[in-house]
């Protein structure tokens, strides 16, 4: 499904390694299965050619990895950025989380990534190999023939409502530049807003009570880059799962969403990594939608150095009560 091929990426990486522009490459490698592709740092060409992967399961956003690796690696790091990753990249630069001089960013086009759960819903369990070309060819241990799936049928939720195919940051661009899309990403938030408070409570109780507090959403989030996290404090009483109560999950997710409000670029990594498939992006999108409606359109990471709504104010802002009324009069 991807228009750009693995060989194009490898050629570019090899060229930059050879001419000394970069000393390491941040890319994807195969995990335990073909579909759990994980980020990896390749420090030489042998490793790169042996393990580098580019397919429809390369959803991982590398921006956050740059913080760790730019401190460790001498020289520049080559990083491949999909359009949505470039927003996180800019946001982290705004927050001075890594040195731009130590990164060589190559923008790559993305046609949307595939959701393995949707693939499994079609082919069932026991996937032995996946071959991504024009179509996704899935082989299972139970069937002789491979099943061919169109990538468009198994798109990740976040890619179905893709906000932009345009790269907002890069040193070099491979392939064609896209446009900022007119996405319908707030539709689901609006659907929830239209429910009664009881229905909303039931919806979130059902979703958030599944949370196992693995903290994967926090660990993967490019906006969550604190060295010490408030939820890492054992004295907080909410640092891990309590079997007795559903409160922690709500506390954790409300506070986490609030901490990234105004800095969240809506990359959707939180929902992608959630092992319980909780639609966590709906919390972040709620904040984005509210801030857009109350304080003017703002896209975190669209430009470096922009000031987020929650660290800014005007004397004419709406009162908290009016924020509620706004919705009541809309409905």
């Amino acid at each position: 499904m991807q228009k750009i091929t693995k060989n194009q990426l490898l050629d570019k990486a090899a060229e930059l390694l050879d001419n000394g522009t970069v000393t390491a490459v941040l890319g994807w490698q195969k995990g335990e299965f073909d579909y759990d592709v994980t980020p990896a740092l390749f420090e030489n060409k042998e490793e790169l050619f042996a393990n580098f992967v580019w397919n429809d399961f390369c959803g991982a956003n590398f921006s956050k990895y740059l913080i760790k690796h730019t401190r460790k690696v001498e020289g520049k790091i080559l990083v491949f950025l999909k359009p949505c990753d470039t927003y996180s990249f800019n946001q982290l630069l705004t927050e001075h989380r890594f040195d731009r001089e130590k990164v060589y960013a190559v923008g790559i086009p993305c046609e949307g990534m595939a959701d393995i759960d949707k693939v499994k819903a079609i082919v069932g369990d026991g996937i032995s190999s996946i071959d991504c070309g024009e179509k996704i060819k899935v082989t299972t241990i139970y069937a002789d023939a491979a099943v061919e799936i169109d990538g468009k049928d198994v798109l990740e939720g976040r890619c179905e409502s893709c906000k932009s195919k345009k790269h907002v940051a890069y040193d070099e661009l491979l392939g064609e530049e896209g446009d900022v899309l007119d996405s319908n990403r707030f539709d689901e938030v609006a659907r929830l807003e239209a429910m009664t408070p009881d229905e909303r409570f039931a919806f979130w109780q059902n979703e958030l009570s599944r949370c196992i507090r693995c903290n994967a959403c926090r660990d993967v989030c490019p906006a969550c880059t604190c060295e010490k996290c408030v939820f890492g404090n054992p004295k907080s009483g909410v640092e891990n799962k309590s079997p007795a109560n559903s409160f922690e999950e709500k506390m954790f997710h409300i506070i986490r969403a609030f901490h990234v409000a105004g800095r969240c670029t809506d990359c959707g990594e939180c929902s992608r990594v959630c092992p319980q498939n909780i639609p966590l992006h709906l919390l972040n999108r709620k904040f984005i939608k509210d801030m857009n409606e109350c304080y003017g359109e703002y896209q975190a990471g669209a430009e470096v150095g922009s000031r987020a709504p929650l660290v800014n104010y005007t004397t004419e802002d709406l009162e908290p009560g009016e924020v509620f009324d706004r919705r009541d009069t809309d409905a």
Binding site: L192, E193, P197, D198, E199, R200, F201, A202, F203, W204, Q205, V230, G237, S242, A244, N245, F247, E248, K250, M251, I254, I255, A257, F258, A261, L283, K286, F287, D290, M291, C294, Y295, P309, L310, V311, N312, Y313, T314, T315, D317, L318, E319, P320, G321, E322, V323, F324
Partner: protein, 144 residues
């Protein structure tokens, strides 16, 4: 008041420079406001971290009200403008999660407004009493 009626627990975060003095003035003027209101003094309304509010609910509060200086009158120039944005967003989020929006409120009360302080608290306590106990954000481990 009937014996079996639920007595709510209200947490009021009051700015040291205005609302806290406003509460003092209400006392000096012998204005009644319910004893269910527990005042926590903060140096500025923007000192209130969203975690404080959720923690209050967790520990059994039925309503949380934040009182600060009128916009433009902040002792620190702009603190309450930040409070206004933050609390608007946080309360909107709580509403989105199905927490009754009447349980949270922001009011601007100056040091000269003892009567407004008492009236606000009376009104807020009446609203929260009508809603009943906070069941949606409580943590049973924190209840006696």
């Amino acid at each position: 008041m009937q014996m079996n009626e639920h007595k709510p627990l209200i947490v009021a975060f009051c700015c040291n420079w205005c609302s806290y003095a406003g509460a003092d003035l209400a006392g000096n003027n012998r204005l009644n406001y319910p004893a269910e209101v527990k005042i926590i003094r903060v140096p500025c309304s923007c000192r209130v971290n969203p975690m404080f509010i959720l923690r209050a609910f967790q520990r059994g509060a039925d309503g949380v009200i934040i009182c600060g200086c009128h916009p433009g009158d902040c002792h620190y120039t702009s603190g309450n403008y930040y409070t206004r944005r933050r609390m608007a967003m946080l309360f909107s989020m709580l509403d989105y999660l199905g927490i009754e929006k009447e349980r949270t409120r922001v009011e601007w009360v100056s040091a000269a407004e003892g009567a407004k302080f008492a009236a606000t608290m009376n009104d807020f306590v009446a609203t929260v009493t009508a809603l009943g106990e906070n069941k949606r954000l409580e943590d049973l481990r924190c209840k006696k």
